[in-house]
Subunit: 121 residues, 2 copies
DNA sequence: TCAAGTACCGAAAAAAGATTCGGTATATGA
DNA sequence: TCATATACCGAATCTTTTTTCGGTACTTGA
C-alpha cells in the first residue's frame, strides 16, 4: 500500500551498484562503442548494434545519461541532430569493459564448444 | 514455429558473453562470496546473501556450475551436505569482480546523493 | 511426536526487461 | 506527392527473470 519510490540502481552493495549500471542488455556494448572518446550520433550507434531493438537503445541511452555515464549534446538543427559521448564517470568504467571484452575473447571458444555452434540446420 | 534451441550464453560478442555469465541478479555476489577460494556450503551462501530469495540462489548456483564458473561437491551423507567453490574459470573472472567492487566503492557516494537516501520516513 | 535443520525441486504468480508498432515533427530529394 | 532520413516517445505485447509457496527426504534434538 505504502508507495515506495523506485531506486534505479542498487545502493545496498558496491558490486551490485556497478552491475546495475551496466547489466541491461546493451549498455556495456554502448560503452564499448563510445570507447574512443569521439562522440557518436544515435543513428550511428543503431547501425553499430543492429541486433538491438532501436527502442531499447533509446531507452538505455537515456538511462545512461541519467546515471551520468554518458553525455548528450542536442544541436538545435533541422533535421534533428544529437551526439552522445563518454562522460568522465563513463570513462572510469572502461577498464572494466576492457577486461570483460578481453575475458570474453579468451574464453569464447570454451563456450562455443559447450553451447554452440549456433543455428546449424 | 520452428523450434530453436535456447543458447544460455551470448556467443555473438565477447563482451556480451562475459556479461551474460554474470549479469543475473546475484551471480556476481556469489563469485564475490567465494573469492577466498575456500568452499562454502549452500546454507552459508544463503546466510551471506539474505536479500536474495533462496530459490534464485539455488537456480543461479546451478547455472554457474553448468557454465563452469564454480564446482560442486556432494557428500554422500545424511543430513545432506554439499559445497561450492570457484573453478579455475571462475577464478579467472575475479579481477573483473574486484574492479567492479572497487569501482562501486569509489562511486557509491555519487549515486547515494543522486538516488538515495533510501527508506527515509 | 514435533520442530528445525540440511539440500533441493516444481509450479504459479509477480515483476522487470525487451520488442513491436504506431505516432510526433521537419527537411531533402525523386 | 511520396519516400526517406533525422531523433524520439507512448503503449501494448511478449519474454525472461525473480519471487513465493509448497513439496520431497532424512536426521537430530526437545
Amino acid at each position: 500500500m505504502a508507495y515506495e519510490k523506485k531506486i534505479p540502481v542498487d545502493l545496498d552493495c558496491p558490486l551490485r551498484l556497478t552491475m546495475s549500471l551496466i547489466e541491461s542488455k546493451w549498455k556495456s556494448c554502448i560503452l564499448d562503442e563510445l570507447r574512443s572518446g569521439d562522440p557518436m550520433r544515435p543513428s550511428e550507434i543503431h547501425k553499430c548494434l543492429p541486433e538491438a531493438a532501436p527502442r531499447v537503445l533509446d531507452i538505455q541511452l537515456k538511462e545512461m545519461v541519467e546515471d551520468g555515464l554518458i553525455e548528450k549534446t542536442i544541436f538545435p538543427e533541422l533535421p534533428p541532430r544529437s551526439e552522445y559521448r563518454l562522460s568522465p564517470l563513463g570513462k572510469s568504467l572502461m577498464p572494466i569493459i576492457d577486461m570483460m571484452l578481453g575475458w570474453g575473447e579468451e574464453h569464447m571458444e570454451i563456450f562455443e564448444k559447450k553451447y554452440g555452434p549456433r543455428r546449424e540446420g
